[in-house]
């Protein structure tokens, strides 16, 4: 009996001693070592070799310039990036010094307190003046800069020139034509998807919503409200989900596909069209369809118009917890420099974030033309709210599309449910 009393007392002491769950120090590391190992996390792309080569040449120059500094690069899979980066924020000891991150995550990561404010260094960098304004916007939160833009990405319509020629089809000029063309191809070639689409391919679906005049959310600054269940947005969802079915891309296969899956389907010759990014170029070139395809901007609703594309892309950011801040910022600038971005473009087809470098790239490489046209026609961005990371990672939009294409819910119900979840997320961040 005595013992159990003692145990209770002990438990009580324990309970009062730790009255709140652990919080890792928000304070940035006060160390700024000039030697040692820098850890870098970059994303693993579908065809990663050229990226590794471009990065390696930067690293060689960096290590030469900083004696005693070493860099280890880890290529992390895009699918698990969210968990990996969060784990890094939670455990500064095992965290990298420099990370690549999707530009949609900027606001969330800043709110989490994970990224270092590099406004001063960024302003002082002589290459900054040529950074294009939308790219700059994507590293900026509340007027402060939290990284350097690494590349911009925009999607357009890939199509098989040989299939179109064989079937005597014209390149679609409206979304209605796109849908009917896709179905014609499927009817003529049952082993092929007319256009490869994916239920989990949010960024391929967004242009359909925007082209019909819909929005994901409306609002400014901190407060957003979902607009995904608006009448125009619903028309876009209707158009996109009409592409799932045995007459184009069977739901049983396509409902679970993401962006990379659709590009892989196109590259391996299983699809006559796909919505792919400029960054998919290398993967498609490495596939079976090399030399048998072309790219045009994704058509809008009106003939000749271009559907507003999602202005994606990645940034490089220094973690707040780094103990090598000076070195990490220098490496960030080197990796995101005009020269390195030019090399990355040559290897991977990733569009540079500097207007002048991009212009030069377009002159050298006619392939970039439809993407630069798409950028020029006006792009859109996801709500600049920390809630977006949560909406994205809890699969709100993929769930909505999958509910519709699997016939579980109609567009109105599914979009209303998605809007509810989005508003909850927006509400929780105030």
């Amino acid at each position: 009996m005595k013992l159990s009393v003692r145990m209770v007392a002990l438990a009580a002491v324990l309970a009062t001693a730790a009255c709140a769950p652990q919080t890792s120090g928000t304070s940035s590391s006060d160390k700024d070592e000039k030697t040692g190992t820098l850890r870098v996390w970059l994303f693993q792309e579908v065809n990663n070799k050229p990226k590794e080569q471009a990065v390696d040449s930067v690293l060689a120059a960096f290590e030469k310039a900083h004696e005693g500094a070493e860099v280890t690069v880890e290529y992390i899979p895009v699918e698990t990036r969210a968990q990996r980066i969060k784990a890094a924020f939670n455990d500064p000891k095992s965290a990298p010094d420099l990370v690549e991150y999707g530009n949609t995550d900027t606001a969330g990561y800043v709110r989490d307190g994970g990224l270092a404010d590099v406004t001063e260094e960024f302003e002082a960098w002589e290459e900054t003046e040529d950074t294009d304004p939308t790219a700059r916007q994507s590293v900026t939160v509340d007027g402060k800069v939290y990284g350097a833009p690494y590349f911009v990405g925009v999607r357009a319509l890939y199509y098989r020139t040989d299939v179109f020629e064989e079937l005597g089809l014209d390149v679609p000029r409206t979304q209605a034509e796109l849908i009917s063309t896709a179905k014609k191809i499927r009817a003529a070639k049952p082993g092929m998807y007319g256009i490869a689409v994916g239920g989990a391919y949010t960024y391929g679906a967004m242009p359909f919503i925007w082209a019909h005049g819909g929005e994901l959310a409306t609002g400014k600054g901190g407060s957003y409200a979902s607009a995904i269940d608006g009448a125009d947005a619903r028309k876009g969802i209707e158009a996109y989900t009409s592409l799932f079915g045995d007459d184009n891309c069977p739901a049983a296969k396509c409902a679970g596909m993401g962006g990379n899956d659709t590009v892989t389907a196109f590259a391996s010759g299983k699809a006559a069209m796909a919505i792919g990014g400029d960054f998919s170029h290398a993967a498609v070139e490495a596939g079976k369809v090399k030399g048998k395809y072309a790219v045009v901007p994704l058509p809008g609703v009106e003939p000749g118009s271009i559907a507003p594309a999602f202005a994606g892309g990645n940034n490089l950011g220094v973690l707040k917890s780094t103990s090598h801040r000076t070195l990490a910022v220098d490496l960030m600038k080197r990796l995101a420099s005009k020269e390195a971005q030019g090399e990355l473009f040559e290897g991977m087809g990733f569009l540079p974030t500097f207007s002048d470098v991009r212009r030069r790239a377009a002159e050298e490489e006619p392939f970039v033309k439809p993407f630069v046209e798409t950028l020029a026609a006006g792009t859109k961005f996801v709500p600049a709210s920390p809630a977006w990371a949560r909406i994205d990672s809890s699969l709100v939009l993929p769930t909505m599309f999958q509910e519709v294409v699997s016939g579980r819910k109609d567009v109105a119900t599914a979009s209303a449910d998605a809007a509810k979840k989005m508003n909850e997320a927006f509400g929780s961040v105030g």
């Binding site: 769950p21 652990q22 939670n90 989490d112 993929p398």
Partner: protein, 310 residues
């Protein structure tokens, strides 16, 4: 049974050196185990319970925002969510099906093991141990490949064309069930087999002489004698299958089309890690812990009532 009872009564009763009153010695001897258990079990559970009472998201963990006390707010949110109840129901049904299939397959094969010659027995043992030793991720990936719509041998053999097994809700659950049973029946089989070997052969001979069928022997002789072993493997299976994560996560790509194949553990993971609502995820964890504790206690109690001891 009689034999074991007499054996127990003749064994010397455990005595401490200083008579009836136990000194600190037992506690000292237990201390290493208690420290390990406390560190690895009690403390995490305490943290889990603690986190579930706060508003604790990524911003709080990495220090971007202050942590606030919510009381039972996370639980209220959880119990008010239809999705949670649906996932809970799916989990219970799925775990029940998995446990039933695992036990049936495991026991049947254990009996079979005692009936076959050495070479087939060895082959069956090795096959089962292979399944047991396969890491869950590998096993899931291989099963997925077997049932792949385009390249899977199963579709080719059955002539199903390009049928997608993971698209339908039930067919996806069925596929996962196959994998779960495949990787967990060896434990049941080996344990029950060991139990059967310990049953005195004269009892089985007597039953056979009385003309009892194989099924009758199992039901009236083996099962009652193996009861303690069956209880342990059942509880183990319930706990494992209720907590299934890897198979669902890998085979249905994190919960299936529109989350149709979510089970509680994957749901908790989605809430806690993907959506960084650690406190809500912790609340789900606490609820799971309580459910499993309750199931185990009720089960043990029922057995007590029937006069059986473990």
């Amino acid at each position: 049974m009689e034999r074991t009872r007499t054996a127990r009564s003749t064994a010397p009763a455990p005595r401490t050196p200083r008579g009836r009153r136990p000194g600190p010695a037992p506690w000292l001897l237990l201390a290493p185990a208690l420290v390990v258990l406390g560190g690895l079990l009690a403390y995490p559970i305490y943290q889990l319970g603690l986190i579930s009472l706060f508003h604790y998201t990524q911003a709080q963990v990495s220090g971007g925002e202050p942590t606030t006390f919510e009381g039972l707010g996370n639980y209220a949110e959880l119990f008010g969510d239809d999705r949670f109840w649906q996932v809970l129901r799916d989990t219970v049904l799925f775990a029940a099906a998995c446990v039933a299939c695992t036990l049936a397959v495991g026991c049947a094969l254990a009996v079979l093991l005692t009936r076959v010659r050495a070479v087939p027995r060895l082959a069956l043992m090795l096959a089962a141990l292979g399944a047991w030793a396969t890491p869950a991720v590998t096993g899931s990936t291989v099963w997925l490949l077997l049932f792949d719509a385009d390249f899977g041998p199963v579709n080719r053999v059955l002539g199903l064309g390009d049928h997608a097994w993971t698209y339908g809700r039930l067919s996806a659950f069925f596929l996962v069930l196959l994998e779960v049973v495949w990787c967990s029946f060896p434990f049941v089989m080996v344990t029950v087999y060991a139990g059967i070997r310990a049953v005195p052969s004269e009892v089985l001979e007597a039953a056979a002489l009385d003309g009892a069928s194989q099924w009758r022997i199992w039901r009236s002789v083996l099962a009652p004698m193996l009861r303690p072993i069956l209880v342990v493997v059942t509880i183990q299976s319930v706990i494992w299958d209720f907590k299934v994560f890897t198979q669902i996560y890998v085979m249905t790509n994190g919960g299936g089309i529109a989350g149709q194949n979510l089970v509680l553990n994957v749901y908790a993971y989605q809430q806690a890690f993907a959506s960084s609502q650690y406190s809500l995820g912790a609340a789900i964890g606490v609820v799971m812990l309580l459910i499993l504790l309750a199931v185990t206690l009720v089960y043990l109690r029922l057995l007590r009532r029937q006069g059986e001891e473990l």
